[in-house]
C-alpha cells in the first residue's frame, strides 16, 4: 500500500493544481533550452544552406553574419584562380524592414549568384527557384508571403516564385533570396526623388563654397548625390575542388592583405561565439534561476503537505513504522509532484512550441536532462519535509 498515493488521492484537486503550476515553470526551463537550440539551429541554418567550403571576407572582420564585411564583387575572379578553388561566388546579406499589406516585414535579404547557385536556396518547399536575372524572389514561409505575391523594394516590384522552410538570419528574421544584382540594387540604389533632393542640397552647399565656379559645383553635386558603385558584396563563397584542403586554401587566400578566409566550421564557430553565445549565457542563467525557483516552490509545497500530516506521521511512528516508511511517504509525494509536473511541461511544450515566435527545438536529450533535473530537484526539495517529519515525536499522536 502506497501512503503517498493515498494521501494525494485525498486532495486530488490541490495536487493537480500544484502540478500544473510547477509544470508551467518546468515548461519555461525546458523552453529556454529549446530556445537556445533554436538560436543555434537558425544561426547555422543559413551557413549550412550555402554549401560553401570557405568564406572569404573583408580582412579582420568576422564575416557577413557576425559583423559587416565589404569587398568588391570582382574579387571573386581573383579567388577563383587560387589553387584548390573550384568555384567562387559573391554573397550579400543584410536586413531590411518593409510594410506589406499593413503588416511589418523584417527580411534577411540574401543576394547570390544565379549561375553558381552558391548561397542560394537549396531546398524549395513550394513553387520554384529563381529562374530569371531580375524581379524574382524566394521567400521563407515565415514571411507569410504567398506564391505570386509582389513586394515593392527599392524601385521595383519583386514576385515570390518559391518558398523555403526554416531559414532565418542570425537575428531570427526570415530569409528572402534575390539575385545578386537585385539584392545590390535594393540595398544601394536610391530612387530619383532622393537623388534630386541630394543633388540640390549638395549644389547649394558647393555654390556657397565655390561661388565663382558654378559648373564645378554642379558636377561635384552630381558625383556626391548619384548612385554609388553597387558592385559591393559581403563575402565570397568558395567551393573547393575535390581533394583540396580547406585550411591550406584558406591560408593561401589569407596571405593577401585585404581578405580573411574561414572554413565553414570556423564561420559557424564565429557566429556561435558571438551573439548566440550571449543568448546561451542569458538562457542558461534564466534556466538556473527557474530551476532554483522550482526547487523552492516544490520544497514549500512538500513542506506544507508534510505539516498537514504530522499527526498521521506521529501515529505511524507510534505504531512502530520504520523510518524508511516516513521518508518514502514524503519523498514519493515530492517525486510524484515532480514527475506529473514534468509531464505537464512536456505536454504544454509539444502543444505550443510551433506557435512560439522563434524556433524552439527540444530534443530527447533535453527532455531526459530535464527529467534528471526534476528528480534531483524533488529529492532536494523533499529534504526539508523529511527533516520535519523525522523530528515529530511519536508522543505527538497522543496529543489533541
Amino acid at each position: 500500500m502506497n501512503l503517498a498515493v493515498r494521501d494525494i488521492r485525498r486532495h486530488p484537486g490541490r495536487f493537480v493544481l500544484s502540478c500544473i503550476g510547477v509544470g508551467l515553470m518546468l515548461t519555461l526551463v525546458l523552453s529556454y533550452g529549446g530556445i537556445y537550440n533554436g538560436f543555434v539551429q537558425e544561426a547555422l541554418a543559413l551557413i549550412n544552406n550555402t554549401g560553401a567550403d570557405l568564406w572569404v571576407v573583408q580582412r579582420d572582420t568576422r564575416g557577413p553574419f557576425a559583423e559587416q564585411s565589404r569587398m568588391p564583387e570582382d574579387v571573386r575572379y581573383r579567388i577563383a584562380i587560387v589553387p584548390g578553388v573550384a568555384e567562387a561566388s559573391p554573397y550579400l546579406f543584410y536586413t531590411i524592414q518593409r510594410e506589406w499589406q499593413g503588416r511589418p516585414l523584417r527580411i534577411a535579404v540574401v543576394g547570390y549568384d544565379l549561375h553558381t547557385g552558391l548561397g542560394g536556396p537549396r531546398r524549395i518547399v513550394a513553387g520554384r527557384g529563381i529562374a530569371q536575372g531580375h524581379y524574382e524572389m524566394v521567400a521563407d514561409q515565415k514571411l507569410r508571403l504567398p506564391l505570386g505575391a509582389r513586394l515593392h523594394l527599392g524601385q521595383h516590384d519583386y514576385t515570390v516564385v518559391g518558398q523555403t522552410r526554416g531559414l532565418v538570419g542570425s537575428g531570427g528574421d526570415p530569409v528572402a533570396f534575390f539575385t545578386l544584382a537585385d539584392a545590390q540594387e535594393i540595398q544601394f540604389v536610391k530612387d530619383n526623388w532622393a537623388i534630386r533632393n541630394q543633388r540640390e542640397r549638395a549644389q547649394a552647399a558647393y555654390t556657397r563654397a565655390l561661388p565663382t565656379q558654378p559648373s564645378l559645383s554642379a558636377r561635384l553635386a552630381r558625383e556626391l548625390a548619384d548612385n554609388p558603385d553597387v558592385h559591393t558584396v559581403n563575402a565570397i563563397l568558395v567551393r573547393l575542388a575535390p581533394g583540396a584542403q580547406p585550411q591550406a586554401v584558406a591560408r593561401e587566400i589569407g596571405r593577401w592583405k585585404y581578405f580573411s578566409a574561414y572554413t565553414t566550421e570556423q564561420q559557424s564557430q564565429l557566429l556561435l561565439a558571438g551573439s548566440v553565445a550571449l543568448a546561451r549565457r542569458q538562457t542558461s542563467l534564466f534556466r538556473m534561476v527557474l530551476a532554483l525557483t522550482a526547487t523552492v516552490i516544490i520544497a514549500q509545497i512538500i513542506y506544507t503537505m508534510t505539516l498537514e500530516k504530522l499527526k498521521p506521521i506521529a501515529l505511524l511512528k507510534l505504531m512502530g513504522a520504520p523510518t524508511r516508511t516516513i521518508v518514502a511517504l514524503v519523498l514519493q509525494e515530492s517525486l510524484a509532484l515532480g514527475v506529473v509536473a514534468y509531464g505537464v511541461a512536456l505536454l504544454v511544450g509539444s502543444l505550443t512550441y510551433d506557435k512560439w515566435p522563434r524556433l524552439v527545438l527540444v530534443g530527447t536529450a533535453d527532455k531526459l536532462t530535464l527529467l534528471a533535473m526534476v528528480l534531483g530537484i524533488c529529492v532536494v526539495a523533499s529534504a526539508m519535509g523529511i527533516r520535519r517529519a523525522l523530528q515529530v515525536e511519536a508522543s505527538a499522536a497522543l496529543s489533541d
Binding site: 500500500m1 501512503l3 493515498r6 494521501d7 512502530g320 515525536e393 499522536a397
Partner: protein, 244 residues
C-alpha cells in the same frame, strides 16, 4: 502470565525551579487477558505513565518490563523501541487517530504492513478484524465518513492487527457518548477474554471501568493503589472502592 511490570517509575519534566514531577514511584502490573484501568483526573500523570510504558517518553527512574523484555532500568535497554512497539503493543486513542487519507480497511492494512504482513493474507486478516469489530461493511469508507463509534472500532481493529501482548488505550471513550463508550469497554472485555491481550486503559471516567479486573488511581503523579497483594488494588468505582 505477567506481561507488564512497572516498578517505581518516576518522571520529572524540566529541571531546577521549573521541574515538574509527573510520576512518583509508580508501580503497576498486568497479566495476559486482564483488563486494567488507570483512573485519574486530567493532568494527574496517567498518560505519562502510558507513554513511558510504550517507550515513547523516557522516565527519570524506575523499571519497565513488557513480557520477557526489560525495556527500561534507569535507562533504555532496548534501542529500537519502534520495532518493539510494532511487535508487542497496540494503541487506541481518545480521538480515534485513524490516518485520515486511508480507508478503514487501509488503516488496518497499514498496521499489518508495518509488521511486514502484506498481500492476500493481510487483506484476509484486516477483513476478519473489521468483521470481528462489527464494521466490516464500512471498510471502504474514509474516517471522516464514519461515526465516532465506528472510528473507534476501526482503531481497535488496527490495534489488534499485530496480535499485541498489550493494548494501551488512552481515554478511548472520551469522544463518545456514554452508551457508545460502554459498548467500547465491552469490546475491550471481549478482546481480553478472547484474544488474551492485556488491556491497559487510561480514563478519567469512573463509570467506564465497571468490570475491569484492576483499577489503579493516579493523582498528582502518585499511583495510590499498588498492584501487590498489600490490598492496594481497589474495586471499580461505584462499588465502594478506594484506598485501603
Amino acid at each position: 502470565m505477567e506481561v507488564v511490570r512497572i516498578e517505581h517509575l518516576t518522571k520529572v519534566y524540566g529541571s531546577g525551579h521549573t521541574a515538574v514531577t509527573a510520576l512518583r514511584e509508580a508501580s503497576l502490573t498486568a497479566h495476559d487477558g486482564e483488563l486494567v484501568a488507570i483512573l485519574g483526573p486530567s493532568g494527574s500523570g496517567k498518560t505519562t505513565l502510558l507513554m513511558a510504558a510504550a517507550g515513547i517518553i523516557e522516565p527519570t527512574g524506575g523499571r519497565i518490563t513488557i513480557g520477557a523484555t526489560a525495556l527500561y532500568d534507569g535507562g533504555w535497554l532496548m534501542r529500537d523501541r519502534g520495532r518493539f512497539r510494532r511487535e508487542h503493543l497496540g494503541f487506541i486513542f481518545q480521538s480515534h487517530n485513524l490516518i485520515p487519507f486511508l480507508t478503514a480497511r487501509e488503516n488496518v492494512l497499514m498496521a499489518l504492513q508495518i509488521r511486514a504482513v502484506t498481500g492476500a493474507r493481510a487483506v484476509r486478516v484486516a477483513q476478519e478484524l473489521l468483521d470481528y469489530l462489527g464494521v466490516g461493511d464500512r471498510q471502504g469508507h474514509l474516517p471522516e465518513q464514519l461515526s465516532g463509534g465506528e472510528q473507534q472500532r476501526v482503531a481497535i481493529a488496527r490495534a489488534l492487527a499485530n496480535a499485541p501482548q498489550v493494548i494501551l488505550a488512552d481515554e478511548p471513550t472520551a469522544a463518545l457518548d456514554t452508551e457508545r463508550g460502554q459498548s467500547v469497554m465491552a469490546l475491550f472485555r471481549q478482546i481480553a477474554r478472547e484474544k488474551g491481550s492485556a488491556v491497559i486503559c487510561v480514563t478519567h471516567d469512573h463509570r467506564m471501568v465497571e468490570g475491569f479486573d484492576h483499577v489503579y488511581r493516579v493523582k498528582d503523579g502518585l499511583v495510590t493503589n499498588g498492584p501487590s497483594g498489600e490490598d492496594h488494588r481497589v474495586p471499580p468505582a461505584g462499588t465502594g472502592g478506594g484506598v485501603a
